[in-house]
C-alpha cells in the first residue's frame, strides 16, 4: 500500500481542521487573556454561527455564494450582539468572579443550545458550498472550498493581529489585559473593553462556524467538540498567549487530522484530553507559555 495519498489527505484535512480551530481557540484565548474569564459557552457561539449560515442560505435566493457572503458578515455580527448582551446582563453583574463566571456561562451554554433546539430543530442540516470546484491530485479529487476555509481563517487571524498590534483599539485591549486598574486610571472604560472583547471572541467562533458549515452539517449539539478542542489548544499554547494559541492550533489540528485518519477519533480525543489535563497539572503555563503572570 502506498502511504503518500493517505498522508496528503491527512495533511489537508488537518490544515482545514487547524484553521477553524485557530479561529475558535483565538476567541477563547482573547477572552481569557483580557478578561480572565473562562467562557464555557464559547462552543455555542460557534454553533450559532453555523446555524446563522444555514438561515442565510435559506432566506437569500440565488446562487449559494451570495447567501454565504452575507452569512460570513451577518452571522458573526448577530452572534457578537448576543455575546455583548450576555456580558452586560450576566457577567458584569457578578463582577467577573472566576468561578461564578464558569457557572453562569454553563447556564448560557444550555440556554443557547436549547434555544437552537427549539428554533432550529434536532436535525442536522446541510448548506451548499459557495462554489464547488474540485482540485485534482494524482490520487483523489479535493474540494477547493476547504482550501478557501484555510485562506479566510488566515486572513481573519492576520486582521486580528493587526488590530491588536497596530491600532489604538488594540492598544487599549492590551493595556487592559496588562493591568486593568492602571488602564482604568488612565481613563480607559474597562467595562466597555470587556463587552467588546467578549463580543469579538464570540464573533471569531461564529466565523469558524460559518466557514465549517458547507463542509460539515449544522446541528444544535455541534458546539461541544470545538469547545473542548479550543480548551486543549488554549491550554497547550499557554492561557492568554495569542502566538502560543496559533502555534498550538496548528499542532493540534494537524495531529488530530493525522490521528483520526489512522486511529479511531474517540481514541484520539481520549489521548489529547488526557494529555492536556496533565499539561495543566504539571505545566500550568502551557508548553509555549512563560511562567504564570
Amino acid at each position: 500500500m502506498d502511504l503518500a495519498p493517505y498522508l496528503l489527505l491527512a495533511l489537508l484535512e488537518g490544515m482545514v481542521q487547524a484553521s477553524v480551530l485557530m479561529l475558535t481557540a483565538l476567541g477563547l484565548s482573547l477572552v481569557f487573556g483580557v478578561m480572565r474569564v473562562v467562557n464555557v459557552a464559547h462552543g455555542q457561539f460557534f454553533m450559532l454561527g453555523a446555524v446563522g449560515a444555514w438561515l442565510c442560505a435559506q432566506a437569500i435566493p440565488g446562487p449559494p455564494a451570495i447567501g454565504f457572503a452575507v452569512a460570513l458578515i451577518a452571522a458573526p455580527l448577530a452572534v457578537g450582539a448576543i455575546a455583548w448582551a450576555a456580558d452586560r446582563a450576566i457577567l458584569r453583574r457578578i463582577g467577573y468572579d472566576p468561578e461564578g463566571t464558569i457557572v453562569s456561562t454553563i447556564g448560557l451554554l444550555y440556554i443557547l443550545q436549547q434555544s437552537a433546539l427549539i428554533g432550529f430543530g434536532p436535525d442536522a442540516r446541510a448548506v451548499d458550498p459557495p462554489f464547488s470546484h474540485t482540485l485534482r491530485t494524482p490520487w483523489f479529487g479535493y474540494s477547493s472550498y476547504k482550501l478557501f476555509i484555510v485562506a479566510v481563517a488566515i486572513a481573519l487571524v492576520a486582521a486580528l493581529w493587526l488590530i491588536l498590534r497596530r491600532t489604538r483599539l488594540g492598544l487599549i485591549m492590551r493595556a487592559t489585559q496588562f493591568d486593568r486598574e492602571t488602564a482604568q486610571n488612565f481613563g480607559i472604560r474597562v467595562d466597555r473593553v470587556y463587552s467588546a472583547v467578549f463580543a469579538v471572541g464570540a464573533m471569531l467562533a461564529a466565523a469558524g462556524g460559518v466557514l465549517v458549515v458547507p463542509n460539515q452539517q449544522a446541528h444544535y449539539l455541534m458546539g461541544t467538540d470545538p469547545l473542548l478542542l479550543s480548551f486543549v489548544v488554549v491550554i497547550v499554547g499557554g492561557l492568554g498567549s495569542l502566538p502560543g494559541t496559533i502555534a498550538a492550533a496548528v499542532l493540534i489540528g494537524l495531529s488530530d487530522g493525522l490521528l483520526s485518519v489512522f486511529f479511531s477519533p474517540t481514541l484520539a480525543a481520549i489521548a489529547s484530553t488526557l494529555l492536556v489535563a496533565l499539561v495543566l497539572i504539571f505545566r500550568p503555563q502551557g508548553l509555549f507559555g512563560r511562567a504564570a503572570a
Partner: protein, 319 residues
Amino acid sequence: MRSANPRLLLLCAAVVAALFALQFVLSEYLVLTATRILILAIFAMGYNMLMGYTGMLSLGHAMFFAAGVYAAGLSSYYWGLSLPLAFVLGVGASFAVSLVTGLLVLRTQAVAFMIVTLMFAQVTYLTTLQFSDITGGDQGLTLPTGARGFTLMGIAVDLTRDSHRYNLALALFTATLAGLFALTQGRRGRLFAAVRENAGRTEMLGFNTFRIRLVAFVVSGTLSGMSGALYALMFGYIGSAFAGFELSIEALLFTLVGGPGTLLGPLLGTGVMTLLIDRLSGVTSAYLIVVGALLIAVNQWAPAGLLGTLRDRRLPWLK
C-alpha cells in the same frame, strides 16, 4: 457525649422520620420518584462535601458516579456477583478513582481545578464509548433479572418492589447523613471551612491543607460513587449517560439550589430540581433551558441557595 450541633441533629432526625413516613402517604409513582431523589441526594451531598464545605468547585463529578455505576454494574452483569458484593466493589472502585484523581488534580486550584476535573470526566465518558462492546456505550446494558434481589443477614430484598427500594435508599441516605454530620459539624468540620475561607492562614496555623483537601475530595468522590453503584443496581441499568457532562452539572445545580455548605441543602435542591425537571421534560424536550436559566439566576441573586439564605438571615446553626 454532647452533640456538636444539637439543633441540626434534631432537624436531621425529624427529616429522616418524615421521609420514612412519606412512603405510607405517597402514590406508587411518587415513591419511585422519591427513591431516585434520595439516591441522587447522596450524590449531591458528596458533591457538597467538596464544593460547599471545602470550597472546591468540580465540573467532573460524573466520573465518580460512573466509577460506581460501572464497577457495580459490570461485575454484576459479567461475573454474576451478588448485589451486596457488587455494591461494595462499586464503592471501592470510586474510592480508588477519587484517591488517584485527587492526588493529581489537587495540585491545581480554582479555575484550573474546574477545567482539569472537567477534562478527566470527559476522558471517562469517552472511555465508556470507546469500549462500548463491554460497557454497552450509549445504548447501555440492562442487568439480568436474576440480579434484582438478594438476601443479607436473613433479610430478603427484592429490588423490583418499590417499598424495598425506597427503604434501602433511605437507609443508605440516613447513613450518609449521619457520617457527614460527624465529619462536618464540630471542631473537625471547621477545618474544611477554614480551607475554603483562607487556605494560606490555615496552613500558617500548622494544618496540612493538602491533606484536608484530599480527605474532602475522597469522601466526596466515594459518596458520589456509592450513589452511582446504588442507582445502577437499584434500577438495573448502566449506560454512558451516567458519565456525561450533564450529570456533573446536575450535582452542581442541586447543591447550588439547595445551599452549598449546608447539610440538608443537597436533599432539598435534589428534590426541588428533580420534581421540576420531571415535570418539564413532559412538556418540552428542551427542558435544559430551564436548568441553564436557573444556574444563571441562582448564581446571580442567591449564591447561598435556599437553605444557605435561610442560614444567613435567620438560622446560623443550619450548616
